[in-house]
């Protein structure tokens, strides 16, 4: 789960990580109301769940209240990579002496939360990682001890030299780690962390993602969720035990198992088609789940054919087939469907389905080819 910069700022403040003054606005009227009359340099930033908003014109500076309103008008409603900007952050701009990068991630290899810092702040860290990886300092954190103060100081000393700056930076690292662990985050970035000419260390931009598997114990984080329409569908599907991702193609697919579902998408692509979605219905043969899955799948108006790909393991194909028959009977659709069953009792399963007149095939590649053909009719 992702949150916006303005939400990350709320969490930063709660944990004592210093950020410049600022507030979120949903309309130009709100900007007019909230911005004070005094002239000062302000930054207006689009709040969208996508990178590269700066290049897209979603971040602007303003010197006066009037200018702030003007820039807010320009940004609100703007389209950035397909997303409409419906809220902005208006914050005090600060003078910057130096910029740094600070990030925390769950690292698969060290199997730990890993702290990354770099003196190359303010730019995309992925770029730094590719061009000059030696400029990123990484430290895996032992979960039993957490980020100890001396470790935070050691890292801060790589970026700062003045004792007061070291102390500020080390405190920010420790607080960010605490926030990260407390909220089951999967990413926390301060980019840039800046040093101002008056030697304050401040978090200018913040980004946080959270572990979906841990949201059940993070009600405060969950309450921050803001979702697009596509995401809504994915979340609804999740609540029903389905895993659904909308894609741009026209071949809908419904598969049991995430790996097999990916392989199915790949297969469609391999044979020249375009998958309309990723859809994993999990392990059961419950007809209700199949109905739910089909409804979600068919709500995508681009879908022109459906490929059902099931491997029967512990759940035998004949049981799955019976479930499918019940489910497909309930769904009234003109979209052509091809069903492929494999694994335990595959023959018996296919027989049951054939009796209903639905098209069946025995291999994945055949299923993919058939679905592509059907979509062209």
């Amino acid at each position: 789960m992702k949150i916006h910069e303005y939400q990350a700022r709320i969490l930063f403040k709660k944990y004592g990580i210093p950020v410049p003054e600022g507030f979120v606005c949903h309309s130009v009227d709100e900007v007019k109301q909230k911005v004070s009359d005094d002239d000062k340099l302000r930054v207006i930033k689009a709040q969208v769940h996508v990178g590269g908003r700066g290049k897209a014109g979603g971040v602007k500076l303003a010197n006066t209240k009037a200018e702030t309103i003007e820039k807010a008008e320009q940004i609100l409603g703007m389209d950035i990579k397909g997303l409409t900007v419906d809220k902005i952050l208006v914050a005090d701009a600060v003078d910057i002496e130096k910029e740094f990068y600070v990030g925390l991630i769950n690292d698969r290899n060290s199997k730990s939360v890993t702290l990354m810092v770099s003196a190359e702040g303010g730019v995309e860290i992925e770029e730094v990682a590719k061009v000059s990886p030696e400029k990123i300092i990484k430290m895996p954190i032992d979960p039993t001890m957490g980020l100890m103060d001396w470790q935070a100081r050691k890292i801060a000393l790589k970026l700062f030299s003045d004792p007061k700056e070291v102390r500020q930076a080390a405190a920010i690292l420790v607080k960010l780690y605490q926030l990260y662990v407390d909220t089951d985050a999967s990413l926390a970035e301060i980019n840039p962390l800046v040093l101002t000419p008056d030697k304050r260390v401040l978090a200018i931009d913040g980004k946080m993602n959270f572990d979906d598997n841990a949201l059940y114990r993070q009600p405060e984080i969950l309450a921050m969720r803001e979702v697009s329409d596509d995401e809504k569908k994915e979340i609804e599907a999740n609540a029903k035990g389905l895993s659904y991702i909308k894609l741009d193609g026209n071949i809908g697919c419904m598969v049991n198992g995430a790996g097999l579902a990916m392989a199915t998408m790949d297969m469609i692509k391999l044979y020249g088609g375009e998958p309309a979605n990723f859809l994993d219905i999990g392990g059961s043969s419950n007809p209700e789940k199949v109905v739910e899955a089909m409804n979600i799948l068919l709500s995508d108006k681009n879908v022109e054919a459906v490929m059902i790909n099931i491997f029967g393991g512990i759940t035998r194909c004949d049981d799955v087939a019976r479930g499918l028959v019940v489910a497909l009977d309930k769904i009234k659709t003109d979209i052509p469907i091809v069903i492929r069953l494999s694994g335990t009792n595959a023959k018996e399963g296919l027989e049951i389905i054939r009796e209903t007149g639905l098209p069946t095939v025995e291999t994945m590649s055949e299923a993919a080819k058939t679905a592509i053909e059907l979509s062209k009719k």
Binding site: K111, E126, P143, Y216, I245, G257, A258, G259, F278, D280
Partner: protein, 290 residues
């Protein structure tokens, strides 16, 4: 021979009184797995599917000498179940549970190391040494005794491939589903090393997917350390970046973890990568000169 488990492995089931735990305990027993006990706090003394129930893993280990455990408890309690098994001295823990928070897995990691516990999963189908021991939710009937080892981040895709191997006459030694989470227990390299040292295994099938760089590491390991042939498949070639493809770990983030990178790494290591699953048996046979 085989890796990790065999007919002497004594298995306990954590969460045996739950629906899934009870169901799969009976399936495992039916396959021939030596299920010696189940755990359910406060239900010690009961029997489920003919298996004695204990209050704690410690009690079960003391009474039965169990050396492996399989976990079916709900996600919020899975991390703790792993810790309990590890502190009770169980050498191999297999966590089937899906949806375990990453921080819980990070927290168990140093404990596993300290207690010398091997973990498979979480969010995995388990593992099988064919005709000897099945731990997890794998459909036993699709496996056939033979000389191919298999490691996979996936469940049903694994079954699909095993089924193809079996139908084409390629039996298996041990097949391990390592799970689809980003932070897991044993990983490709750990298992590749075991297969390399297992005299019975002649070739290994590796089924990877998008996300992380475990496949790239595996490719390096194969190139530098392995004498046995490996054949690979990577799921998720058509997956868009930034989207989690069902498995928590199957996500291309910041442009890394793509299928293309992984396929390239395998190609450079001389590992053939199947374009679709049905190519796998042929590639294995080719490597084995069959």
């Amino acid at each position: 021979m085989s890796i990790l488990i065999n007919k002497d492995t004594k298995v306990i089931v954590q969460g045996i009184t739950g629906r899934d735990g009870a169901f799969h305990a009976s399936k495992m027993k039916a396959y021939g797995t030596n299920i010696v006990g189940g755990i359910s706090p406060g239900k010690g003394g009961m029997e489920v599917e003919g298996v004695p129930v204990f209050n704690t893993v410690e009690d079960a280990v003391k009474a039965t000498g169990a050396n492996a455990s399989v976990i079916f408890v709900p996600a919020p309690f899975a991390g703790d179940a792993i810790l309990e098994a590890s502190f009770a001295g169980v050498g191999l823990v297999v966590c089937i549970t899906e949806g375990v928070p990453v921080q819980d897995m990070i927290k168990v990691t140093p404990v596993l190391k300290q207690n010398n516990t091997k973990l498979i999963g979480a969010n995995c189908p388990g593992l099988i040494t064919v005709d000897e021991c099945l731990i997890g939710i794998l459909p036993g009937m699709i496996f056939k005794k033979g000389n191919v080892g298999l490691i996979s981040r996936s469940g049903t895709l694994t079954y699909e491939v095993v089924n193809m191997l079996t139908e084409s006459g390629l039996g298996q030694t041990t097949c391990v589903g390592i799970g689809g989470d980003s932070v897991s227990g044993l990983y490709f390299i750990d298992l590749l090393e075991m297969y390399e040292n297992d005299p019975e295994t002649k070739a290994v099938v590796l089924i990877g997917e998008i996300g992380g760089d475990a496949e790239e590491q595996a490719a390096r390991f194969i190139k530098e350390k392995m004498t046995k042939p490996v054949v690979a498949f990577i799921a998720g070639q058509s997956a868009p970046p930034g989207k989690r493809m069902g498995h928590a770990g199957a996500i291309i983030s910041s442009g890394s973890g793509t299928a293309a990178e992984k396929i390239k790494a395998f190609n450079e290591a001389g590992v053939p990568v199947a374009k679709e699953p049905s190519e796998i048996p042929g590639l294995v046979k080719g490597k084995l000169g069959m």
